[in-house]
Structures are given as structure tokens and as C-alpha cells.
């Protein structure tokens, strides 16, 4: 039985696009239907493979946006010079098909008994796997306290804003808007730095666990900052999306 499950995760399976949701002008969530989907853990991702009529294939990976037990969904940010993301965010519609492999990832995952308190740090589209963690926490009625520090270019670029504006009990969301802020914005308005982390992060003495996800330079900077505040390196989990995110 276990052998079969592993095989299923390692092979490409057909995914059919279901409902899509535009989260921001550049970001779309696609609900996917995969027969015999084995389920997934919060924080995992899938590899996605598109095939053109001439046989050309392109592969990318996307974090799973939904919690365990919810239908599989991915959230994709359109990259201007991208090849796959413009297709997924603008062209793909309900009924279209591509392939997924996974779920994959055993490191950047959270379950209620992983514990906390949790510091989730998101740079741009790095919020996607962290949102899956938040939804899983809510669905399991976990009482682990959470702070989400979410760095975004502007308010318009904040993904899942309506959901994050109604955080579950024990969840605090702190935004920093690095490029443009709404009039009368009273929150942070700069890139995450050690001062901001010192003000926001759980004190190291409370034994927190951090999940940091986003562009590589964001992750490197925040992870180093948290270690500088006394977080053991082993309690700072990282997932780097490269230069511009996926």
C-alpha cells in the first residue's frame, strides 16, 4: 500500500482546471481536479507540466494554496517574462488540462502537532504555502498562536486580502508595503529588516518556529535576522522562490 502511494506521488497525473479566482490583477488561484489525488500536507507544492500541441513541454512548480482536506488549488503569480505563468493566469480555463506531480515536500510543512508559536514570514507570492498552513490551522481548530508578517509591494498586490483581513482567533497579520502605500497607511512601509523583526517576531525565549517563504534575497535576509534575534537555525524553515518568485 505504501509503495503504491509513493508511486502515485512520483508520476505525472492529469489535472483538470475547475473554478478560478483572480486574487489580484496578476495573481490567480486555480482549483484542480486530479482523480485519485492522494491528499497533501500544508506547505507542500506540486510540479506542473504543460504540453503544447507540437509536443513542447514546460515544467514549473507551484505551492499548494489549499489546506489538507480541501480540493487541490494552486495560486500562480503572472511573471511578465514568464512562459507558464501567463498561460495559467490568463488563458487556462475550466476544463483545460495539464499534468501535476506530487504533492512534494517534506521539510516546509506544518501540522498542528508541529507546534508553535508560529512566525510566518511571506515575501510576495511566498504567502501561498503559508496561507495553506493558516487554513489547516483553522480547519483543525489548532490554538497555536500565529503571527504572519507579509511583505508586499503594495496593497493591490496583497494576495488573499479579504481572507487575511478576517484572521482566525490567535492569528495576527502584520503587513509591510514596500513600494506604494494607501493614503493614511499607518503600517510598515519598508523592506523587512532586523528592527521590524525585533518588533514583530515572537521572542526567541518562547520557542517559536518560523516559516519564511518568498524571493531568495527576502528569505536570506529574514532568516538571518531571526537567527540574529536568537532563533535556533533549526527552528527557521525556509523556502526560496528565486529572483522573482515563481
Amino acid at each position: 500500500m505504501a509503495g503504491t502511494a509513493v508511486r502515485g506521488r512520483l508520476t505525472w497525473q492529469t489535472a483538470t482546471v475547475g473554478p478560478v479566482t483572480d486574487e489580484t490583477p496578476h495573481v490567480r488561484t486555480l482549483s484542480l481536479s486530479v482523480p485519485d489525488w492522494s491528499g497533501h500536507r500544508a506547505g507542500q507544492h506540486v510540479d506542473v507540466r504543460l504540453t503544447a500541441e507540437d509536443g513542447y513541454q514546460a515544467e514549473r512548480e507551484y505551492s499548494i494554496a489549499s489546506a489538507p482536506g480541501e480540493p487541490l488549488a494552486i495560486t500562480v503569480e503572472r511573471l511578465d517574462d514568464g512562459e507558464v505563468s501567463p498561460y495559467l493566469t490568463e488563458e487556462a480555463q475550466s476544463g483545460d488540462q495539464f499534468e501535476v506531480r506530487g504533492p512534494v515536500g517534506g521539510y516546509f510543512v506544518w501540522e498542528p502537532d508541529t507546534g508553535g508559536p508560529l512566525l510566518l514570514a511571506a515575501g510576495g507570492s511566498g504567502v501561498v504555502p503559508l496561507r495553506a498552513i493558516l487554513r489547516h490551522r483553522a480547519r483543525t481548530r489548532s490554538a497555536v498562536p500565529v503571527k504572519l508578517l507579509y511583505s508586499s509591494r503594495s496593497w493591490e498586490d496583497v494576495i488573499y486580502s479579504s481572507e487575511l483581513d478576517l484572521p482566525a482567533d490567535g492569528v495576527e497579520v502584520i503587513y509591510t508595503l514596500t513600494r506604494h502605500q494607501p493614503r493614511a497607511w499607518k503600517g510598515y512601509a519598508r523592506r523587512v529588516d532586523e528592527q521590524m523583526l525585533a518588533e514583530v517576531a515572537w521572542p526567541a525565549g518562547q520557542g517559536p518556529l518560523a516559516y519564511v517563504c518568498g524571493p531568495t534575497s527576502f528569505v536570506e535576509s529574514v532568516a538571518a535576522g531571526l537567527v540574529g534575534l536568537g532563533y535556533p537555525a533549526g527552528r527557521v524553515k525556509t523556502e526560496r522562490f528565486g529572483a522573482t518568485g515563481r
Binding site: 512520483l10 506530487g102 521539510y107 516546509f108
Partner: protein
Amino acid sequence: MDDAAVDDFAVDGNAIAGLLASVFGAEMTTAVGTCGSCGAVTVVAELPVYLTEIGTVVRCRSCYSVLMVFVSVRGMTCVDLMGLASLS
């Protein structure tokens, strides 16, 4: 990690979880690699990974030596692990 080495073109071992699973037949991001050059021990998820269409290069976090290389040659994945002292 050295500030000067922060490189936006690198991802990390999380990004090749699927590739590693298809090559090794198991979830590998929590596996631990030991660098054959400097002996640094790092969980695969935290290794710098240079992921491009020409090939995927996994390097040591400390000394940047090449640990693993994956190249797709005529549809087949070729794997070189010679830079690792161990992977467990």
C-alpha cells in the same frame, strides 16, 4: 551564509523535491547531505540550487562546491552525486 554570496538566481532543495523524488524514489528534502569538499552537513531543503534548463546544480551552503548535478539528456535524467560525501 556570506552576504556577498546571496544570489537571487538560486532556489533551494525544496524546488527540486519532485525531481529528487523521481530520481531517488523517496522524499529527499529532509535528507541530510555531507559535502565531500568541506564536510559541511546540511539538510537538502536548505542547499542552494541553480535550476536552469541546461541543468540543475546543487551546491554546498558553506563552500559552494558542486554536490549534485542533474541533466536531462534526450529525455533521460542523468545524475551526478560525486560532490557528496554522503546523503542520508
